[in-house]
């Protein structure tokens, strides 16, 4: 008697699983199609006001990046030499100015900036070639 009652009640309140599955599938599809796993980061770009740059002229560490590679003081500098050559000066907080020639891809430029940051550079300003505009 009790058993019969229980079964009749549970069949009376039965909720169909199919609509639930439908909704869950639609949610799943939505999240699969719209989600991305790319890990985006950001790099600070220094945009100093032109007037604040002139009085720092002798402190600026001027690097040049051309299609032939990175140059410091007119001498070529490899990426793995940056730390050895510039670490002491970068540690004092001197700003870096990186002059980039035409024909350099952004990724190369970012790689150099990464290396400078890794050696302790705090502020890196990018400069285009003279007479760019």
């Amino acid at each position: 008697m009790k058993f019969a009652q229980r079964t009749s009640r549970s069949s009376g309140t039965r909720i169909g699983l199919t609509p639930l599955i439908d909704v869950v599938f639609i949610l799943l599809l939505f999240f699969m199609l719209t989600s991305t796993f790319a890990d985006r980061r950001s790099l600070d770009m220094a945009t100093p006001a032109p007037s604040s740059v002139t009085d720092l002229d002798d402190k600026i560490i001027a690097l040049e990046l051309t299609t032939e590679g990175l140059h410091f003081d007119g001498r070529p500098l490899r990426l793995d030499e940056i730390d050895a050559v510039l670490h002491a000066r970068l540690a004092t907080g001197d700003p870096v100015s990186l002059t980039v020639a035409a024909g350099i891809g952004l990724e190369t430029c970012v790689t150099v900036m990464d290396a400078l940051k890794a050696s302790g550079a705090r502020s890196i300003a990018l400069k285009g070639p003279e007479g760019m505009h």
């Binding site: 980061r41 790099l43 891809g105 285009g128």
Partner: protein, 139 residues
């Protein structure tokens, strides 16, 4: 009559039993995508940011400049020619000089293009500029 009703009920119950593992897996997938994924932002041009090892998280609530590999520029969601872009950015920075700005540029774009955008931003007085990169595991 009673017998056929009970048969029907047991048939439904057995369908439920067979479909349960499926629902479990679908739920697991759903939770995985909910937790692990981030909703992709709509980009007006296709952009593949340069790889970098920087740690700082990318901000999302910033005025965004997109630079595609073929040099097309978009501010927010609208594609603009260079002159119109310069005017629009000057107006936007003048309206709120402290707002963060991020540049989402393709890895193949010429650095000189990005630098000329930076010079435009510098000229209009913006100081909070970030370049978006893509995480690369440190070697």
């Amino acid at each position: 009559m009673k017998l056929s009703a009970r048969l029907e009920a047991s048939r439904l119950a057995s369908i439920d039993d067979r479909i349960m593992p499926l629902i479990n897996i679908v739920f697991l997938l759903l939770i995985f995508f909910l937790v692990a994924g981030a909703i992709r932002e709509v980009e007006p041009v296709e952009v593949d940011p340069p790889r970098s090892v920087v740690e700082a998280e990318s901000v999302t609530d910033a005025l965004t400049i997109y630079v595609a590999s073929d040099g097309r520029i978009a501010l927010g969601e609208t594609l603009l020619e260079r002159d119109a872009f310069d005017q629009a950015i000057a107006a936007a920075v003048a309206a709120d000089p402290d707002q963060p700005i991020r540049i989402v540029a393709d890895r193949d774009v010429e650095a000189v293009n990005v630098i000329s955008i930076l010079e435009t931003l510098r000229a209009s007085g913006s100081s909070r500029v970030k370049l978006v990169t893509q995480m690369q595991a440190a070697p």
